[in-house]
Symmetry: C2
Subunit: 481 residues, 2 copies
Amino acid sequence: MNWRGIQRLIGLLLGFYSLSFIPSLGLSIFYADGEAVHFAIASFITGMLGVVLWLPVRRDQSELRVRDGYFVVALFWAVLGVVGAIPFIIGLHLDFTDAIFEAISGFTTTGATVIQGLDALPPSILYHRQQIQWLGGMGVIVLAVAILPLLGVGGMQLYRAETSGVTKDEKLSPRIMHTAQILWGIYFSLTVACALAYLAAGMDLFDAVGHAFATVSTAGFSTHDASIGHFDSLAVEAICITFMILGGINFAIHFAVWQRRDPRRYLKDPEARAFLLILAASGLFVGLSLFVAGAYLGLGESLRRALFQVVSVMTTTGFGTADFSEWPRHVPFFLAMLAYVGGCAGSTAGGIKVVRVILLAKMGSRQMFALAHPRATVLIRLGPRPVPEEVVYSVWGYYTLYLMVAVILTGGMMAAGLDLESAFGATTASLNLLGPGLGEVASSFATVNAPVKWLAIFAMLIGRLEVFTLLILFTYAFWRQ
Amino acid sequence: MNWRGIQRLIGLLLGFYSLSFIPSLGLSIFYADGEAVHFAIASFITGMLGVVLWLPVRRDQSELRVRDGYFVVALFWAVLGVVGAIPFIIGLHLDFTDAIFEAISGFTTTGATVIQGLDALPPSILYHRQQIQWLGGMGVIVLAVAILPLLGVGGMQLYRAETSGVTKDEKLSPRIMHTAQILWGIYFSLTVACALAYLAAGMDLFDAVGHAFATVSTAGFSTHDASIGHFDSLAVEAICITFMILGGINFAIHFAVWQRRDPRRYLKDPEARAFLLILAASGLFVGLSLFVAGAYLGLGESLRRALFQVVSVMTTTGFGTADFSEWPRHVPFFLAMLAYVGGCAGSTAGGIKVVRVILLAKMGSRQMFALAHPRATVLIRLGPRPVPEEVVYSVWGYYTLYLMVAVILTGGMMAAGLDLESAFGATTASLNLLGPGLGEVASSFATVNAPVKWLAIFAMLIGRLEVFTLLILFTYAFWRQ
Ligand SMILES: [K+]
Ligand SMILES: [K+]
């Protein structure tokens, strides 16, 4: 391990992050909501921490290697979760567990909350919550598109011609920084476009920016308890659906579309195509289920509610416009399964990712075909390109591990006192970075006990770091040598 | 397809099966319970059906091939489910759905029931129910040890040196008949031993034979509503645990033990060893959970209840001695997960099977290891022998398909009206051939509606036929050519 390099990087990160409290501080002064001094303290603590870490190793020129990468990535989210929680502790007087939960939930773009009564919160705290998500989204597109493939983890590696992204002594930083700049440009542009659209649809500037942060990052915190349902506007819902979908698509595809000025490239990408198809088919299925069950009056209203919820869940954003509890029982379960599928690799969405599910389906049908026709050999393709067998099988491993984690978390939450439905809902909501769950955690995690919250925090980190990246730190093999 | 060969085989099967009603008929006369004429009718219908099918093709000498095998195997269970249901229809006046459910539940050794008030049933009908399970167990050890490996499906193929069992034009019958005779000898001996032990522990002859049928076949029907709890005897429970475990171990290992007169071979088999280890660890975990939660008075009592339930669930027998509903919430969920693991390949138990779970765990840790040490290559071994990569990956496919089926069944049962816990419980109980579920189906399927029952029937057949064998019949690739 290159401890000095890691320390330097985390120090730099904290230094930069201390600046992120400034907009909240400014807003607090503007709204005179009394939080300004809290944000000043948070910024000072974070900055000092950064300086203290950075100073002794500031001249370190060593490069981080792949093994350091795993550790740094996990540390990024954990450290930012702690310092991002400071305003919740000193401003809102949340206890330690709740504050960490709220911050990690934001940074991982999960959007599950322990706070009830959002409409009454100081605006600067509300803004801080929204901004945390947006910064988390910035972090994750770089993680997913640029960093994890270099570590040999993550759905994006499936797009690469080489089978394994791991070259042991590869230098991480130069490639990552270049890619990051492009991705952040796209992310920033999408956010601005989304905020402008919300403004045009009638939101005030505060809500428009706050919800643009939460939409493009597919994180789903809202500044209102009623979430997007608060606005009760078809235009807002349409904008929200559009930008949730864009947030759920691979940012590398966004880049290709932008570079060639050719939106048809979305449909040329097999993953984005499947993603849109599943959204449309699921919207239709849920809409018809609602219509048949008579939960809403007409077919149009049923389809509108259904499409919003399907997009919100599959992109793992977690915004709401309707109350699930009156919907037919198989619909919430179906939506939960969509959350397990999740969005595209290289996006801000959570879940197993569409590309992996495509490969799982292709492997399943290949295995069936092989039983009937034992002599045939079939290559698995993604678009025109065959996928190396090694990569194909790594998807099976990922899926297996993901579900094992889900089962253990569900069991753990039941041991901590939740009933089956709530435990399943809480695991689904946290592991897939969705936010809202089922049963007791249908709208918030406010009423569950601390062990459940810590399990959910762990689940959010696992989900955000694509399982392997976090779990590998707990293996003997990683620390040996 | 060799339709004539298939018709001849099914005709023969029905002819033989018509004889199986004779013991019930005799018992009915002995107990004068008024069912004798019903069994005579059932026997006559079944025999006639067999003759009608067999007569026109009786001179057919053609051999069945692998593709015919899939179809025949599925047909065996479906056809016996229908004729085995006759006494339930004309004797107990169950409706068609309930009768088929009860018979398929028996033949697949699931042991889920739609009948309430067992203690008041005519003895001959009770005996018929017990015997169905025992015959189903006879069927399945031959299916699992001799037939499925030839078809290239099933956990037992993992034991073979060759990667694939499918040689397209291999003749099926001679090898199968020889293996079947040996396996049935072992199965019969275990049943006799179990019945004698139950007798010695104080059961009457009727209960001893009936419960021996249900124990060795790991099917779990009882002649009493209170199941094994009815006897409230430590001796009965100890015998039951012993023979459930024996029923859950690969019959090929039983054969090796018997052949060499060396019980240490059980511990030399990596699957049986893991099976026993998981049982012991799980018994301890559940026992301590019960003790800590104070559900039972002492540590001894807690461990006794726990061990029985752990063995009953993991061998997918489904006998009960206690009421789950007072147990801590994570325990029923943990037990459900044990049912998904299931017993050993080549046994009468259901579930994914221990050997596949071992390989899944080894694959998972190998993948973790590979991320930390990308240059190392690690072979996966089962005991001393490396497992071919092709087989290793087929396990992943099996697991994926199995869980997808579980998810779809759960969703389907929720669409049919069950709540999440009951739907999860009903799927767990039927797909893994366990029997008792959770929630509404905790003790029986009597109160659920017909669509749920048919989904459960389908699940039992899928579980019994190791998923691929049944699902392949619904693929285009199978019927083409
Ligand atoms: K979210
Ligand atoms: K059973």
